[in-house]
């Protein structure tokens, strides 16, 4: 029997507070004390106003892949005899706290299927990601705010897609109907709030039904891997597509499926840490080699690689999986209005020629 509750809008804060005693909560909220500021996922503290009314500016990925995280710590030990010999100890101890993301969107959760394939399915398994993934639950909003930049149904998702989610949140008149989709989620809902009345339950049902039917975006990605390869050497074309790019990298920063990272050491005196941080394939230094050679020296190669990675290389490598969840953030955030749908659309035209 599915467990469902109704949370009235004016009770939301107290319900979340109660929930946060059972599990750490991340909610979408303004990133500054200003309602018009960019939004992102932040740890819940009582009084935080959730931003459920729009997609967050920054994606959910940092819940599983923090912008910076410690991979390991090391410490050098001086030889007591004073000879220059140095020894070192290294540890990779880490702790993960069970977390519930309350108010994720289907596109953000869908994006995790790409990350899962890369980080969890080998041949090498990334323990930092996997441990966090196992300990993170998702309460996902049925999306009613898709705009002209969204194209989730074009890439296999949808505004009511609950794949990978543990709870479904349906915004209804006066509040939210929250339904458990997994046993562990049922436990979380116990003693939080009453069941919805039949009118609200029916309204939630209608909203879900409508959202399941809604098509968001008209992009056709079939055959994109082969079409991309055909287009690879048309440098004039790629230059035309990327000419205005400033190389700011915001598309990768806001992208829920962009996961590329760098590893650097930070050290002070004898102690230090090895850190993993988000990186961006849109930067010159990303592929710059010590010899001075750079396989992707201009924005043309870098943009082509970004498009290729999402619509050709990931599908080729990972059984047809796309490296895009259709959230539209890269389009919305681009300061010079580069729209990835244009290039992907052209790929389709290219195959039909």
């Amino acid at each position: 029997m599915a467990v469902k509750i109704f949370i009235a809008t004016d009770r939301l804060d107290s319900v979340l507070e109660k929930l946060s005693t059972k599990i750490d909560l991340l909610i979408p909220a303004s990133l500054k004390d200003d309602k018009s500021a960019p939004t992102g996922f932040v740890p819940f503290v009582p009084g935080t106003a959730p931003a459920f009314d729009r997609q967050t500016t920054t994606p959910l990925k940092k819940a599983l892949l923090p912008q910076v995280e410690t991979l390991l710590r090391f410490e050098y030990h001086k030889d007591p005899q004073g000879s220059p010999k140095s020894s070192v100890t290294v540890d990779d101890q880490r702790q993960v706290r069970p977390t519930l993301v309350f108010g994720a969107r289907p596109c953000d959760v869908k994006a995790l299927t790409t990350l899962d394939r890369v980080f969890s399915n080998g041949p090498y398994v990334d323990p930092y990601y996997v441990e966090r993934r196992k300990n993170t639950l998702f309460a996902t909003l049925v999306c009613r705010q898709n705009d002209a930049k969204c194209f989730c149904t074009s890439v296999g998702g949808g505004p009511a897609d609950m794949e990978g989610s543990h709870l479904r949140i349906v915004p209804v008149d006066g509040g939210y109907v929250v339904e458990a989709l997994s046993p562990e989620a049922q436990t979380l809902l116990e003693n939080l709030a009453d069941a919805p009345d039949s009118a609200r339950d029916a309204q939630a049902g209608q909203i879900v039904e409508e959202a399941l039917k809604r098509r968001v975006g008209e992009l056709d990605t079939k055959g994109s891997p082969e079409a991309f390869r055909k287009r690879f050497d048309q440098t004039d074309y790629w230059f035309q597509m990327i000419n205005q790019c400033l190389g700011c990298g915001v598309c990768t920063y806001v992208c829920p499926t962009c996961y590329c990272f760098t590893i650097t050491d930070e050290v002070e005196n004898l102690k230090g840490e090895r850190l993993r941080s988000w990186d961006s394939c849109m930067f010159y230094h990303y592929t710059l080699e010590a010899s001075g050679h750079n396989p992707r020296p201009t924005k043309l190669e870098r943009y082509r690689n970004r498009v290729g990675h999402k619509f050709s290389y990931i599908p080729e490598r990972y059984e047809g999986l796309l490296g895009c969840c259709g959230c539209g953030r890269c389009i919305r955030s681009c300061p010079v209005s580069i729209d990835i749908r244009q290039v992907v659309g052209h790929l389709k035209e290219n195959t039909s020629e």
Binding site: D92, V125, T264, V267, N305, H309, R317
Partner: protein, 275 residues
Amino acid sequence: MNNNPYLPELATVQEIITETGNIRTLRVTLDNKQRMEQFDFRPGQVGQLSVFGTGESTFVINSPPTRKDYLQFSVMKTGEVTQRIHQLNTGDQIGLRAPLGNGFGFEDMKGHDILFVGGGIGMAPLRTLLLYMIDNRSDYGDITVIYGARSPKDLCFTYEFQEWRDGGINLILTVDAEFPGWKERVGFVPTVLSEVAPSAKNRIAITCGPPIMIKFVLFGLKELGYEDPQIITTLEKRMKCGIGICGRCNAGSKYVCLDGPVFSYDQIRSMGGEL
């Protein structure tokens, strides 16, 4: 390896050999004796050397799996990590994540004649396979090595050339210009290749060196009748994770760290992407 592929094993520098003005060879052993005894790898597989506090870089294990007293890495001083590696002393502890990458398909090379074409530090990845073949000499036919550098001072592994010759290797050495006392060949590697002209019949060619050398060696091999699948090389890219996750070293949908670094020339042609 342990269950955290990012966590290096501790290793100790046992010996340092100065090869040239900017290339040093490190012989290291894993501190965990049992791991060292069990350590197994394929010729051509690589390791990530860590100097904690500076970072990691990828180098081929250039000793062969048939000689496991130590693991050998040859390092050219180029960037931050390699500068730091050049400051290491014997007895210093470093980190090692290995073996990584694919290695050479040496099983399929059995029964073939072999041609190695190396330039400068590019001899390092060839050395591991060369020594493996010397240690299994009867499995292979003629083995010819063309190895060149700018000057005699820029050749690596000079101290074991005699051992290679004694091991049944047809070793042809060349330098770019005449030098006092130099008795071997003079000329660029691709030129020497076309002079020596080893027959392409039943032969695998393995080449590694500076990109410009590889480019002309490829021309030369094609002229001699070598087909793409007969030509093997190793690729290099900037790498971080070394395990096919961080996304950096791709050429098309292949990761050089995981799917490489060894590729045949037909594989390189078909994978696309930027090199």
